[in-house]
Subunit: 499 residues, 2 copies
């Protein structure tokens, strides 16, 4: 067995995964309604095959041989073996029966959650959520951990990061955010988002936003943009990366923010080197790093003034009413309106992170067993009041709003805020490395920033861990400093705060 | 091993085939251009897996056990075993190396043919076509046959039908068609297709034609209609059957004829019983029977006067110019214009069959070795002149026009004309069984005919062979009589012929 034979086996598995990704994409974008039953069975059949191939004796023996030979491998190949072994040994530790039980629990969890949310009745969800939490705790036991069982779950999404680290970072961030949001609330600056509402043709919206992301660097020869209820990004290969969006007739920014967010994810995937396809070097580092790419483009760039210096004329030209009557200054303030919301997905970039911190704190204790599922609404509502000054009147607008837990996705939430922190820290480094970066953006020159992200992040795949990547690029560990500075500077100006 | 375990293995294979079908559909409908290289590798990987699973020792042992137990199986299960065994034993006879060689030859055959057609130079194609013909003759030797090696190739598309039968039928048909077409040519009736040309919005075209096929019975909850260069029908399950079409700005019937043709195929697939999915009882009988469904709807129904008695007002309403100035009578004559063409795919329902007969005659001799690849243009051009009175001036408009041979599809062509013959014979039986069928169609009542096709043909899958099916439904063997009668009656009227 030589390394290329091993690599070819990985590529074959990846191709099956791409087929699954297409089946999923199609299901959400074009599949006729009655196709759903058979589609999920087709996906399950392929997923079973992929699992079999991945934990096969053959791949195990290859891995054992390669691990013995490690000292003779190039650093890149070493990284491949390291990462495949990581996934392989995790999957090996989970008994087939357990995996199936969890899949079933997640699947009914989803339907029960949907029903409970519809009726806004958390009690309907309690027994199933208990079951899922117990299974996830069991998973942590199978996998093993050092300090907290929650760490074993985070590890899937953010490899190598543990809850202790996140706790410290989130505590710092929370200490900044809560008083900061109060200051914004008390600011004399009042922003009225209604002046950018209108009646926007959806076909025109998509044409305009397509032209924007094409200008930034999304390659439509290697990708598509379609419509779905829940926007997402998927990829089958660096040469076929697809994003989706949704529309509001009245609010052009509703569509734009998801287009540019998903574009951020897509630029990462289009920046993966094709020769690494199928290996960990052809995969993103972590969910947090992935999210850093979407948030960097969506928030730090896409809601900056210099970005709209370049693109606002295009918006005005295509949607005269209302934009001819709104100055760039006003527009900039409106798209950066800070307003605490009960709903995470409708939140601005400042308050959003308190939603994440709240979920992280609850998840951690749930998995560690120090709080009980039945007490969730009370805990949730208390925290929402403490962090955002809002009262939750319905569970549908509180603890029942997100799908994640119903599918057993514990450890996923923190990656959203980690993404914001990575993004700010990376962006600060980019500003250092690229003289006049923001001036360039205001002139419609995006390739310096995209090129920087490509060479620093995208092209390496999983060669570096998230921690190493951050240290390589920024010279220090992940910190809240850059994100806090970014928010403070930006919103001090918008809300005329005294800090 | 019980029968259901065996069935589940077939279903698992079918699910992988559905994934391949989606990969193909997507490639032709939505895939970004640069996705093509990886897409073909993904399809190849899955095709390899499917082949492995199908000719596995496991499936072989199941089949051997079930064949021993045959006398104790229900007739339906017997048919399943019979048909799976048919395919299995054929695939088993072909060495893996040969299959790969053929796939490679077909793949380069396609590119070379495309280039040759572009340059209209048959000589460029000769060496590769020779290679492909030799491989197909080798395939026939591997598979085995009784009289002609060509029979072993036809068998893939039209199981159980041999070239001797087809020769006899086609000879009869040709003897009718050649003088019939001359009579039409000499008719005093002249038809000008230009009066139905116009400038038609493609979005409106698709909306109108969608509403027509929905009315006929295409279920959009279980299917879709999209746009491609080459229209086709594909299915992943009876609940997800997709068709495609193409547009001409000037000619609304260009789009309509492919929509209703593909709808005919799709109604067959939507009429398959879901409980038979994955087994031969969930598959169409043959390409000829499949084509009978598309041609029955496209030509016999969709180009009949009673059909347009119902739908012409809709056309007039949506495309006033030019249709308000064209009477139903005139429209009916125009859409049934008979005009010999060098190009098969642009031919009317009368002359079309001579294109097929010509190809059949050539294929047969090629595979039997009685003519040589290098002589094809000469033979082709002679026959075209003899059958249609036309002169071929460029190979691109002659022997190079069709893709089939470049991919090794010998034995496919005759199924097109068999389809026309089946269609006419079935339709005659339907008229007998359903009193006032054509009156019903003129009132927009399509369910009697569709229900008849469902219960007589669609729901049985491969339970009957094509021959048995025809005898069951019509009480006799396939014959040219019904098709000849249909043409004679229809065109005698349109062209005021004396017969």
């Amino acid at each position: 067995m030589n390394f290329n034979e091993f690599k070819n086996k990985l590529i074959e598995i990846r191709r099956l995964q791409s087929a699954v990704a297409l089946l999923n994409w199609d299901q959400q974008v074009y599949m006729p309604p009655e196709g759903v039953g058979e589609r999920s069975r087709t996906i399950a059949a392929l997923a079973g095959l992929i699992h079999q191939k991945f934990i096969s004796k053959e791949l195990e023996s290859d891995l054992l041989i390669l691990r013995k030979r490690q000292s003779r491998l190039t650093t890149k190949r070493k990284a491949v073996v390291r990462e495949v072994w990581r996934d392989f040994s995790r999957e090996k530790k989970l008994p087939q029966k357990f995996v199936e039980e969890l899949a079933r629990a997640a699947s009914s969890g989803y339907s029960i959650w949907k029903e409970a949310r519809k009726k806004s009745d958390f009690n309907l969800f309690v027994p199933q959520l208990k079951k899922i939490v117990n299974l996830k705790r069991k998973e942590a036991e199978y996998v093993g951990y050092k300090n907290s069982p929650y760490d074993a779950l985070i590890d899937v999404y953010e490899p190598g990061v543990v809850s202790e680290e996140i706790s410290a970072i989130f505590f710092e961030l929370k200490s900044f955010l809560i008083p900061f949001i109060k200051k914004i609330k008390n600011s004399s600056v009042k922003i009225d988002p209604n002046c950018i509402m209108g009646n926007f043709d959806t076909k025109k919206q998509i044409d305009v936003f397509k032209s924007i992301i094409k200008k930034i660097g999304f390659d439509f020869e290697k990708g598509r943009l379609d419509e779905t209820t829940h926007p997402f990004c998927t990829n089958f290969h660096p040469c076929d990366v697809r994003i989706t969006t949704r529309f509001s007739k009245n609010d052009v920014m509703y569509c734009f923010s998801s287009v540019i967010h998903e574009m951020g994810h897509a630029l990462y995937e289009q920046g993966i080197l094709p020769e690494n396809f199928g290996t960990p070097l052809g995969e993103s580092v972590s969910l947090g790093i992935h999210e850093s790419q979407s948030r960097l483009w969506e928030k730090i760039v896409g809601q900056s003034k210099h970005f709209w210096v370049y693109f606002y004329p295009l918006l005005k030209k295509n949607f005269q009413d209302p934009f001819v009557n709104v100055s760039l200054e006003e527009f900039y303030r409106i798209i950066n309106l800070v307003k605490p919301s009960l709903i995470r997905t409708e939140s601005d970039e400042v308050t959003y992170n308190l939603h994440i911190i709240l979920r992280f704190e609850i998840e951690k204790e749930l998995i560690e067993g120090s709080i009980d599922v039945a007490d969730l609404p009370e805990i949730w509502n208390q925290k929402i009041e403490e962090y955002l000054g809002l009262k939750v009147k319905k569970d549908a607008l509180g603890v029942l709003q997100d799908v994640h837990w119903s599918g057993g996705d514990f450890g996923y939430f923190p990656t959203y805020t980690l993404g914001n922190l990575y993004a700010a820290q990376f962006y600060a480094a980019a500003k250092n490395d690229i003289p006049g970066l923001e001036k360039k953006v205001s002139l419609g020159q995006f390739s310096p920033l995209l090129g920087w992200l490509r060479s620093k992040i995208h092209m390496h795949g999983k060669f570096y861990t998230a921690g190493d990547l951050v240290r390589n690029i920024t010279g220090e560990n992940l910190s809240t400093k850059y994100f806090v500075d970014y928010l403070a500077k930006k919103y001090k100006d918008i809300y005329k705060l005294k800090i």
